[in-house]
């Protein structure tokens, strides 16, 4: 495959982007749409003290759950940790800080970060102490809103079905989920893709993530975990 933008690389090379203590944003929902090779690469490199940002903590052996289960994260910003009991256990033991954000507001905070906005106004969860705690309010048109800050990350990792050498991405069915948002919010964005196709072969009308947002592309060998339903 021609590599005119230098974005197509290998897992080994792209691992240089990962360091201890970094903020890592990941695509996926219950592991669906999370990049398996990148997650394994982070595990194998021994990266620790991560702040993870994503929809949920997967399952103990699925998706980002692998990193959480092996205690590689010190903080998680997510909407749900229920499918990964190890995350709950670590939280109760004080080994993992968890910031819960309502799912759609989390998505919008990531989107805001990805499109260069500092914050959004939200009326979700204002009655809830955990959501509203320590957040500034803003009065607009006589209504009270929470200011929800935007989220960005040192590195974003996403999983896509196809990429061209520029990093234009299309996703597969419900594996799209948070990926297009996460792809925009990384200072560096790495896409793990099932197939790399020649420039010009993706239908421009069907591209979901413009390659502008993608810095590195690595080929995937597909999911290497067993799903809960299998």
């Amino acid at each position: 495959m021609e590599n005119p933008f230098g974005k197509i690389t290998s897992l080994e090379k792209v691992m240089e982007a990962f360091d201890n203590g970094m903020t890592l944003m990941f695509g996926g929902f219950g592991g669906v749409g999370s990049p398996p090779a990148l997650i394994d690469g982070i595990l194998e490199k021994g990266i620790r003290n991560l702040t993870l940002i994503g929809n949920d903590t997967g399952f103990p052996h699925i998706g980002i759950g692998k990193l959480v289960s092996q205690e590689r994260a010190i903080k998680v910003i997510a909407s749900h940790i229920g499918s990964n009991p190890i995350a709950g256990k670590l939280m109760h033991e004080g080994k993992l800080e968890v910031e819960f954000s309502p799912q759609g507001i989390l998505a919008e905070r990531i989107r805001a970060g990805g499109v260069g906005l500092p914050a959004i106004l939200s009326d979700i969860g204002m009655d809830n102490e955990l959501v509203a705690k320590n957040k500034p309010h803003f009065l607009l048109g006589g209504k009270d809103y929470l200011i929800e800050t935007a989220l960005t990350a040192d590195v974003s990792i996403v999983y896509a079905k196809k990429a061209d050498p520029y990093g234009n991405l299309i996703y597969d069915k419900s594996a799209r989920n948070t990926n297009p948002l996460v792809a925009m919010a990384g200072d560096i964005t790495i896409a793990e893709v099932e197939e790399i196709v020649p420039l010009g072969s993706l239908n421009p009308d069907e591209i979901i993530t413009p390659g502008v947002f993608v810095d590195h592309i690595i080929p995937s060998k597909g999911v290497n975990w067993k799903w809960a339903w299998e």
Binding site: A107, L130, T178
Partner: protein
């Protein structure tokens, strides 16, 4: 949770009566997931999943699962004609913009004002709210399907929720294995009973006061 499949299906069947042709409906896990089985065959309903599916169809046959086509609970589903995929931001945009007609979900407690507490048991279970807050706050109609009492026999329909709230004054209808309540500005109204239960039995298992509708439907399927 302690209820036989028949009770669960009875509750689900009653909930299905709320759904009209063409509606956008979001279903939670547990009893709500049984609701589609009770809809008329020719009814067109767009089932919405938080992870970015509109027009979700039933589970595929064994061996036909697609690992990249799953519902918000992580289980394989299918896509009906006219269905579409979107990212999480757009999926919740549909909810917040009021385009989801009904959300049907489970709960730990519901108060007489329609307060919903379904996301946290302090010190025990802290799974996170997921998408429940947006759904509870912004879906046009919120229907709670749940056991009338918890495993210890404590009423789940209460004067005031003791568990942390998901959202205040958001529930429209409560359906349990005993009865159906409508939530009104004046509190709960008992509108339907599942025989053999009677009003007294419901009152005994309900913590808060409620009024009784002039006409009580006794549901027998």
């Amino acid at each position: 949770m302690g209820l036989g499949i028949d009770f669960r299906n009875t509750i689900a069947r009653r909930a299905a009566e709320e759904i009209r042709n063409g509606m956008v409906v979001n279903l939670g896990i547990g009893i709500p997931s049984l609701v589609p089985n009770h809809l008329p065959k020719n009814m067109l309903v767009m089932f919405h999943a938080e992870n970015g599916i509109t027009g979700m169809g039933p589970s595929p046959e064994k061996g036909m699962e697609d690992e990249n086509l799953c519902n918000a609970g992580g289980f394989p589903v299918t896509l009906n004609q006219g269905g579409s995929y979107c990212d999480s931001a757009i999926s919740f945009g549909m909810i917040r913009r009021g385009r989801v007609d009904i959300t049907i979900l489970g709960s730990l407690q519901v108060s007489q004002q329609g307060d919903l507490a379904n996301w946290i048991v302090p010190g025990k279970k802290v799974p996170g709210m997921g998408g429940a807050m947006e759904l509870a706050q912004k879906a046009r109609k919120v229907i709670v399907l749940m056991n009338h009492c918890d495993k210890a026999g404590n009423p789940k329909i209460v004067t005031s929720c003791t568990l942390p709230l998901t959202s205040k004054a958001c529930v429209d209808i409560i359906i349990t294995e005993l009865a159906v309540f409508k939530v009104t500005p004046k509190g709960l109204v008992l509108t339907e009973l599942f025989p053999p239960y009677d009003i007294q039995q419901v009152a005994d298992k309900t913590e808060c006061e409620f009024t009784v509708s002039d006409v009580i439907r006794k549901i027998s399927y």
